[in-house]
Symmetry: C2
Subunit: 409 residues, 2 copies
């Protein structure tokens, strides 16, 4: 007599974006002819550059001929993509072994699946606010405990507040924790951790034998040369950190699907043999996954070539200029916003700290702008909105103008 996994029943609500889509659809149905401006979901809008397109076509062509056709590749991605990723780290002075790189169909699956190799009763810490996948996948795995509706938190998780006071990077956990998820440049706040901030967490993790899961999906947006793009730029991180990365925002692969995770051989837990986490992640991936698409890998190799990187940076510059326009527009109205300088997200304080969903509705009704309520990323996001800089320039300008002209004071 089959029964369902009860941990799904403890999930507090549906995924954030379906609810946003529902409200937008309802507004559109009630106001036919009104054009909606989208600053909501962080989805790329600009076409892939020529070098990447050529790489993808070449990947397809290889499958058309008996001499070059290949079937199953390596579970962790074929050597050319892993070599390209290792070379990419080396540009920043970071040495990563090919057997430490696991290429996948994206940072989201890896962010969700990485918890599988850790003990079911692990204590998990997340930034608050945070990308919902860290929380939801641990709840499904049974680590969430009961949901406290008053606090809007799972009792079993440790929340690390990220506020204007701490620059949206958390203080060290006070309670013992086993796993800590950090994301920099941060989704949703757009904050970027400094070298010192990361070093503090690395020292903490080494001392407590905790593991940092570091989500670097947005690191290509960092322009400030002083800011670390990889946690492995920090001394000692190889002993305590896993890094997850993505081609989604770097190369416009949101729909193409490619990402990777680095699990250093030096990462050794109290209970395990040296390199055990690397071995278990390999086992996890080879059991549940069959490698990223060979066609997509060819596009990824092209994106990480010198020509590909240069072309992709032009696209990222476009999104960064969008972010600047959003920040400048909102500030000219007297609104307070954070982030958006080395990140594609602007973190807007709602006027008078009104609740996020209430301001979502105001932005929708008065300015016809779809945003993302900060509270959708955890209770620490209440009173904030995430505005996404992904979009065509004219659309971003129109959205900013619509806020300026439409939003009632």
């Amino acid at each position: 007599m089959a029964r369902t996994n009860p941990h799904y029943d403890t999930l507090a609500a549906g995924y954030l974006f379906p609810e946003i889509a529902r409200r937008a659809r309802a507004f559109a149905a009630a106001h036919p002819g009104v054009k909606l401006h989208r600053l909501g979901i962080g989805d790329t809008t600009e076409p892939l550059p020529p070098t990447v397109i050529a790489g993808l076509h070449a990947g397809v062509d290889r499958l058309a001929s008996v001499a070059t056709y290949t079937g199953y590749g390596d579970y962790e991605g074929d050597p050319p993509i892993r070599e390209a990723i290792a070379r990419h780290y080396r540009r920043r002075g970071v040495e990563i072994g090919l057997d430490e790189i696991f290429v996948s169909d994206g940072a989201k699956p890896d962010s969700g699946n990485i918890q599988s190799v850790f003990a079911p009763d692990s204590v998990v810490a997340v930034q608050d606010p945070a990308y919902p996948v860290y929380v939801d996948t641990n709840v499904i795995a049974g680590r969430g405990g009961a949901f406290d509706p008053a606090a809007q938190q799972y009792r079993g998780l440790v929340y690390l507040p990220c506020t204007a006071d701490n620059g949206f990077f958390p203080d060290l956990p006070a309670a013992p924790v086993d796993l800590v998820y950090l994301c920099s440049p941060n989704n949703p706040t757009g904050a970027v951790a400094t070298r010192e901030q990361l070093a503090r967490f690395v020292a903490f993790a080494r001392a407590r034998r905790a593991v940092i899961v570091f989500d670097a999906a947005y690191s290509a947006f960092i322009r400030d040369p002083e800011l670390p793009r990889s946690i492995f730029e920090i001394e000692g991180a190889r002993e305590c950190a896993i890094e997850i990365h993505s081609f989604s925002k770097t190369a416009g692969f949101t729909g193409v699907r490619l990402g990777w995770t680095v699990v250093p051989r030096d990462l050794t837990l109290e209970d395990g043999e040296p390199g055990k986490v690397n071995r278990l992640w390999r086992r996890r991936q080879s059991t549940f996954f069959n490698g990223p698409s060979n066609v997509v890998q060819a596009g990824g190799v092209a994106a990480l070539s010198d020509a590909g990187l240069a072309e992709c940076q032009v696209v990222i510059d476009h999104y960064l200029e969008n972010a600047r326009l959003i920040r400048a527009g909102l500030r000219s109205m007297g609104l307070v916003c954070h982030g958006g300088e080395n990140a594609p997200y602007v973190w807007l304080e709602t006027p008078g700290r009104m609740p996020s969903w209430a301001f979502f509705d105001r932005l929708l009704e008065e300015a016809h702008v779809i945003s993302t309520p900060g509270s959708g990323f955890g209770p620490g996001g209440e009173g904030y909105m995430r505005l996404s800089a992904f979009g065509h320039r004219a659309d971003i300008e129109a959205a900013v103008a619509s806020i300026r002209d439409g939003l009632r004071g």
Copy 2:
């Protein structure tokens, strides 16, 4: 203080194919210049047909222009691929709703992940022998219990023997079970379940409120019009079965990565609301997955078009003829083999029922042929070998000749 998931430690051994690769490498290193023949891993070798290649190229081209570029697609695959899959079922008289189809990056991930939506203490039954992913993923999820080295079985799983006596399709479970994994055409035995055999399991599952996970990844190899290609051809299956399917062997997508799972809305468990399994699988996929690659989906739509299907069938006919050659060659030597008529796998009885790994070594050393030991698929596979019909014609002929000439009596 982080610890690893202890369930990984109960996994009995590394994945089968790495061990095969290790022995093959060792032999090659010791015998330089000897050409090895591969009848081992079930990996496609023939190029993709023109219609599929054109579909993939079109998918790439759509990403090159601002007018047609798309980012994130639907978590469950975009409408065109789901419509193509629904149409594919309709050709066999089976109606599947678009909201019952979940497209993914392959049958292997879905086979591994589907257990996530069922209770952690579910009792799981597998065919013996079986594709190792069903067993290993449930062991990692904690449903395996301790491994019994004498029996070569996990004490927590229910093994359904598939033998020459029952035509390699199991009898009904004697003990209560919650989940039953069935694979037809079968990997590794090449046996195909009849309508009557499936109907017996469907009746059992409905009576006991068990769920059948039906792996139909090889159904395109069925040529006998009397044999069911989908479990949904069986009356009542919508109430008790989930079907997993793949483009890997159907369209040569082993490296391209595309598959799907059907979770009928009618599948309702004792403890749940109507359609709950469908809802939980949607939640699982939207939380851990971001949809299959848009480029790959374009290739999949092309593969399921009338022209694409006709071209793919030519490739499958090629593999089926390979299987016939393997069967004919081995039988001419007096060896006993099963399967390989509506499946790409030939299931060979070892001479004198010698242990599978011993015969693996003999085939390698005497005939220079890489095969797959049946025991790698569970204790019920002991004394058998899986021979794969995937290969170029000349290579298959050479392998058969090498067995005939090299194998000492």
